[in-house]
């Protein structure tokens, strides 16, 4: 049974403690820790080997925690083990390596604490429980001047031993729990690093989207300059040829219906290929964004959207292209979410200025409940806004509506002159 608490054994009442697996697991945990300490001591004395041994030990430690019934600590970056000089310097520069070394030293500390306790405890308790047997063989249990040679004293001794065992059990469980927690602190994921990873992911998504848009723009231009021009030219030549054939037909009386029909079909084929070329590149129109700016691009988005979108665009001057592209991507992401997740029936987008900069407000009338923690779409929006040094406020109560308010300071706008 996996729980999150390494101290699970401490919560068991005394009369049950001896019968739970957790107690014996704790003792085993400490004992195995002591055994592992020996190679650790060796590694410390041959300290160039220490980082590599730390890595190995940390791998074992992450799993060993599982003995106590808690979940195994996930390795932040599962890298294969290398026992080599090569890369030693790089590894020494990583925070991870130092955390592992730290954990190794702490592990040594715990081993130092637990070994005397285990030795004394197990020896004493072992002797105490064996006392009745020893007495039978003529070697009574002796402490100071007191001998356990009568049944009463034996019974007392055993009773005492049981209580001490329970205490010992709690002590072991406590130490084991503390060690497990510190191990997790040293070797587990730190919350900041998780956030950093999510940040990196959002960053990657944003640059990927931007790269894709730039690529699409390039493709559209290439298609315009290449195939579309040539196809239009071919169509025109066919048309001219057709006209000449018709003229020849009427002058000479020869029946040219069959070749004329073929030319008609050829023009039909050209029409179709131009249509499919256009369809392949259609959809989002970065070209419009480049040439006419955010207002026109938003209008175009509204015109081709399945939902009614109301655009209020109050700016006259254009912004730098990366800014407009980011804002437009935010709009398309918002609309997609409104349709797919919020089941909205209308969207409103307002762009305006105030004293501090640009004010960008997007609302939908869907059922709300949007959460940036779930799904990277909203995280991508937040990331874009933070890249522009802006602020982003999302209000999305359950039941809706959803409102996203974005403020971009004037310094980030770098308005260009049109």
């Amino acid at each position: 049974m996996k729980t999150d608490s390494a101290f699970g054994a401490l919560q068991v009442p005394p009369w049950r403690l001896l019968f739970t697996a957790r107690l014996w697991a704790a003792i085993f945990y400490l004992a195995s820790g002591v055994i592992l300490a020996f190679p650790t001591v060796i590694a410390i004395f041959t300290f160039p080997l220490l980082p590599a041994w730390s890595r190995t030990l940390s791998g074992i430690e992450r799993r060993r925690v599982g003995v106590l019934g808690v979940s195994v600590i996930a390795d932040p970056r599962g890298e294969p083990l290398e026992w080599s000089w090569v890369g030693l310097r790089t590894r020494l520069r990583e925070v991870r390596t130092w955390r592992e070394i730290g954990n190794t030293l702490v592990h040594l500390l715990f081993a130092t604490i637990s070994s005397p306790i285990l030795m004394v405890g197990l020896t004493f308790l072992g002797a105490a429980f064996a006392a009745p047997l020893l007495n039978a063989f003529g070697n009574p249990f002796r402490v100071g001047g007191w001998e356990a040679d009568s049944p009463l004293s034996l019974a007392l001794l055993v009773a005492l031993a049981v209580m001490l065992l329970i205490l010992f059990g709690y002590l072991c469980a406590l130490i084991a729990g503390v060690q497990a927690v510190t191990t997790r602190l040293f070797l587990g994921d730190v919350p900041e690093s998780l956030e950093r990873q999510v940040g990196l992911l959002a960053d990657a998504q944003v640059s990927l989207t931007d790269a894709f848009e730039a690529e699409r723009y390039r493709i559209e231009r290439d298609l315009h300059d290449g195939p579309q021009q040539h196809l239009a030219g071919a169509g025109m030549l066919i048309g001219m040829g057709r006209a000449e054939l018709e003229q020849a037909q009427s002058l000479s009386g020869v029946d040219l219906q069959i070749p004329l029909k073929k030319l008609d079909l050829a023009q039909g084929e050209i029409d179709q290929s131009l249509d499919s070329l256009r369809a392949a590149v259609s959809g989002l129109r970065p070209r419009l964004l480049v040439e006419q700016g955010l207002g026109a691009a938003l209008q175009s988005l509204a015109a081709s959207s399945a939902l009614p979108i109301t655009i209020t665009y109050d700016r006259r001057r254009r912004l730098a292209f990366p800014v407009e592209a980011s804002l437009f991507s935010i709009a398309t992401e918002f609309v997609t979410n409104a349709i797919k997740h919020a089941e909205a029936t209308s969207v409103a987008i307002e762009v305006g200025d105030d004293e501090t900069g640009l004010r960008y407000l997007l609302t939908d009338d869907g059922h709300g409940g949007a959460d940036p923690q779930i799904g990277t779409g909203l995280i991508g929006i937040q990331h874009r806004v933070s890249l522009l040094n802006g602020t982003c406020t999302l209000v999305s109560p359950m039941g809706g509506p959803t409102a996203l308010q974005i403020l971009i300071p004037t310094t980030s706008l770098a308005a260009s002159n049109t």
């Binding site: 231009r221 315009h224 579309q228 021009q229 196809l231 239009a232 030219g233 071919a234 169509g235 025109m236 030549l237 066919i238 048309g239 001219m240 057709r242 006209a243 023009q267 050209i270 029409d271 131009l274 249509d275 256009r278 259609s282 129109r285 070209r287 419009l288 480049v290 040439e291 006419q292 026109a296 175009s300 509204a302 015109a303 081709s304 959207s305 399945a306 009614p308």
Partner: protein, 221 residues
């Protein structure tokens, strides 16, 4: 008609010149970029030297974005009586809309065609005639695309199939006479359909260009 051509692709430029000359039009000049195009209208040329109609490609050097369109609109500002026929690769209506915004205040005709339309010589020459005589014409594919947009679908579903066909043709710039010819209908029938369309869409049925522009304006907003 006196016609000027502004097109950077040599094959298309010379092909258009050839088609127009075969149809007895007079190609007075050609330009292969937006700068050259604007230069043709600088220094206040004499009226006789001006063309009746200019055929312009939206996308031309030096900017390769919408230089041609920008130049055409600038020319229209100064010489509103000259017809402007824009050719383009793009199905989207942003350019068309911008061009059409200039139509109401201009005497000259306005046209927006896709480049492949040039190959359909009869259609192309008909468009040249329409724009040259002050009318409005929009490529049927652009209209179809416009009418297919999701937000258009609901109100237009009130039209019958026949009315829908007529709407396509009205929006493309055809007169009633032309619609009669294309759909094989009689004049009163076409008028009845047009009237019904305008009533259903809540539009004011003007005449000539105003009618087309009303429909296109409706479809564009």
């Amino acid at each position: 008609m006196k016609i000027g051509i502004a097109e950077d692709v040599t094959l298309l430029r010379e092909g258009i010149r050839s088609i127009l000359q075969d149809a007895a039009h007079d190609v007075v000049w050609t330009a292969s970029d937006a700068t050259e195009l604007r230069a043709r209208f600088k220094n206040n040329p004499v009226l006789e030297d001006l063309p009746d109609l200019v055929i312009v490609d939206v996308r031309m050097p030096p900017g390769h974005t919408d230089d041609g369109l920008r130049a055409a609109i600038a020319i229209r500002d100064e010489y509103p009586h000259i017809g402007i026929l824009v050719v383009s690769q793009y199905l989207g209506n942003e350019y068309a809309r911008e061009l059409l915004d200039t139509a109401p205040e201009s005497d000259g005709g306005t046209g927006y065609l896709l480049k492949e339309r040039i190959g359909r010589i009869d259609d192309f020459l008909a468009a040249v005639e329409t724009v040259g005589s002050g009318g409005v014409t929009i490529d049927p594919k652009v209209i179809a695309h416009l009418l297919a947009l999701p937000q258009r679908a609901a109100p237009l579903s009130f039209l019958t199939d026949r009315e829908s066909e007529v709407l396509h043709l009205v929006a493309a710039g055809h007169t009633n006479a032309q619609i009669e010819a294309v759909l094989f209908l009689s004049a009163p029938t076409v008028e009845k359909h047009v009237g019904s369309i305008f009533t259903k869409l809540g539009l004011h049925p003007g005449v000539g260009n105003r009618r087309i522009l009303a429909v296109l304006h409706y479809l564009n907003t």
